[in-house]
């Protein structure tokens, strides 16, 4: 059974279409990164998956209908939907007590173990903690839940680089065990690049690209080309070209590595470069269509 499965997922706010027929399938044990520009529909899609918003179309998460079964679903799913949403009046110890009270799969000792590695004390109130510490606290609470699906929506927005790195490190080292599924949406592509097993770009409410990271790495190559070989390289139909100091960098889709090695230094492109390329194609296609 797929962890998340949707067919024709649609959602409109008035005249704005936020999701325009999304077909999605996420298998268990994957770490999927959803990447898209502002207003692409990432949060809308995640809110639908978490039962926070109504939608049209078919959607099953762990075999359940999230909109009508949110409370049951949350026994197996947890999420950090935004930074700093923990109630500011609460003490850390109260949050622990409350989750022990309502969540059958919460391990208090584990959460306290995570917290012991931070400077957060049980007697602290959330309002006394810095933004980064609130995120640490939230992550500690979430990681102590034995859930099957974890959804993160811009979990590190506005945090400094140390907290951001720590966040993904502890997520990978202390939490992910290949039976859980993680879905993370973010702008900060570089940070999650090495964490992901799957990748998805979303734009204007549609999935515009999806691939596993293995496939991505074998399919896309980037070559640093000297100006004298530029014409030969362009003949191989790069999907994107950008100028840098001392030459240009060309991005190829499905071109043989040996062939490219003759043109210059070959490497795997970053997700950010591919994202720019795919979004560039998108906008030129859109312009072509409107002409």
């Amino acid at each position: 059974m797929a962890c998340i499965e949707s067919r024709g997922l649609r959602k409109a706010f008035g005249k704005t279409t936020a999701l325009d027929g999304v077909d999605l399938r996420v298998e268990e044990g994957r770490i999927l990164g959803i990447i898209g520009p502002n207003g692409a529909g990432k949060t809308t899609a995640l809110n639908a998956i978490l039962g926070l918003a109504a939608y049209e179309g078919e959607l099953r998460v762990l075999g359940r209908d999230p909109w009508n079964e949110r409370d049951q679903l949350m026994r197996d799913v947890c999420f950090i939907s935004d930074v700093a949403v923990l109630p500011r009046w609460a003490r850390v110890s109260q949050l622990l007590e409350y989750i022990v009270g309502v969540h059958p799969r919460f391990d208090r000792a584990k959460a306290e173990g995570f917290l012991a590695k931070t400077s957060i004390r049980l007697a602290n109130k959330v309002r006394e903690l810095s933004k980064g510490m609130v995120t640490q606290l939230h992550l500690a609470l979430i990681m102590a839940i034995d859930a099957r699906l974890l959804v993160l929506d811009e979990p590190t927005l506005g945090l400094d680089i140390l907290y951001r790195k720590q966040f993904y490190d502890s997520l990978l080292n202390d939490y992910f065990d290949r039976s859980r599924t993680i879905v993370v949406a973010t702008h900060q592509v570089e940070e999650i690049e090495h964490v992901l097993t799957d990748l998805m770009f979303i734009n204007r409410g549609r999935i515009v690209f999806q691939s596993s990271m293995d496939e991505f790495e074998s399919r896309y190559l980037e070559v640093m080309v000297h100006p004298e070989k530029a014409a030969a390289a362009r003949a191989l139909k790069p999907v994107q070209e950008r100028q840098v100091f001392g030459g240009s960098i060309l991005l190829f889709d499905g071109v043989d590595r040996q062939q490219l090695a003759e043109l210059g230094e070959v490497r795997t492109p970053s997700i950010a470069d591919l994202f720019v390329a795919v979004m560039g194609q998108q906008s030129s296609q859109a312009q072509g269509a409107s002409r």
Binding site: L52, D71, M74, R75, V85, Q94, V102
Partner: protein, 308 residues
């Protein structure tokens, strides 16, 4: 199954069959606890009022103001001996109303305002449980708390009175028979549960509903429709029925009580409205049905609501 090689798989199984769910009452209990953590005024306000009332009582006792009424042999004594007790209890009940109103106006609004609704919704607690926990504050928690604090307060007052009576060289027994403490407490419990929990429930549920719906200015949104309906009635029919209805619901001087023989509602009192009359009054049941409708709407609304 108990061979060492199975130990791993057994412990894994044990983990996977860990309780899939808690009984619903457990989530409700913890949700009520969380309301008390967040809204400490629920118990601080009545405690503070009781402390002030006790202070005033002991001051007046020292000043000798109640001394006359404590002269149990004098003619007017029987009515006035319980007066300070009623006034103090009345103050607590007024506090109960005020705290309930402010609590309900904020209950479903604050979690959206501080975005913590996203955290609460990430836990396996249904919207129904959450709303029920919130309505239980004005319906159960505050009335029982008010009662407990009032009884404790009156107990201390009785002790103080007894000391004064002793000081005057009179018999304490006479005071204790005049002021039958147990009966007074029972009557007060009955009065609080009927007049301050069940009777005003539609008002509290309306406030809860508005707090879950309005983006800001919950008090304005809660009051405006009532004022508008009252105003239209006044202009068109030249009558005050709607305003009287809302007022009576909140303060407790309800038509059902006013129609009773005797001197109407509160103070010494509720003796003339029996449980039978109260339970068989259509006003009570109409109120409960309206409350249930408001609550159902609030539960449904919370499903759609996110942070504001």
């Amino acid at each position: 199954m108990s061979t060492p090689s199975n130990a791993m798989s057994e412990s894994f199984q044990a983990q996977s069959v860990a309780p899939a769910a808690f009984p619903a009452t457990r989530a409700l209990y913890w949700s009520v606890r969380r309301e008390l953590w967040e809204n400490r005024s629920i118990y601080i306000a009545p405690l503070a009022v009781a402390a002030v009332a006790l202070f005033a009582f002991s001051m007046s006792a020292i000043a000798g103001i109640w001394e006359k009424s404590l002269r149990l042999d004098s003619a007017h004594a029987s009515g006035t001996v319980t007066q300070p007790y009623d006034i103090a209890a009345g103050l607590l009940m007024l506090t109960c109303i005020v705290v309930s109103v402010f609590y309900c106006l904020d209950a479903l609004h604050s979690e959206r305002r501080d975005r913590s609704i996203l955290f609460w919704k990430s836990l396996p607690v249904s919207d129904l449980t959450t709303v029920l926990a919130k309505v239980s504050i004005p319906l159960v928690v505050l009335p029982l708390l008010t009662f407990a604090i009032a009884v404790a307060m009156q107990g201390i007052m009785l002790l103080l009175s007894s000391l004064i009576v002793l000081g005057m060289g009179q018999s304490v027994a006479a005071l204790w028979t005049k002021l039958s403490f147990f009966r007074m407490s029972l009557l007060m419990l009955y009065h609080i549960l009927t007049a301050h929990a069940l009777w005003p429930l539609p008002v509290y549920c309306w406030l809860l509903l508005v707090s879950g719906w309005a983006r800001r200015a919950t008090f304005l949104w809660a009051a405006l429709p009532l004022v508008a309906i009252g105003g239209v009635e006044l202009i068109v029919f030249r009558s005050w029925h709607f305003a009287a209805l809302v007022g009576s619901r909140l303060i407790g001087a309800a038509p059902v009580f006013a129609s009773m023989p005797g001197d109407g509602f509160p103070s010494g009192p509720m003796t003339h409205i029996t449980a039978g009359t109260f339970l068989s009054s259509p006003g009570l049941w109409i109120g409960l049905v309206v409350s249930a409708a408001f609550l159902a709407a609030a539960v449904r609304l919370r499903r759609y609501q996110g942070p504001i």
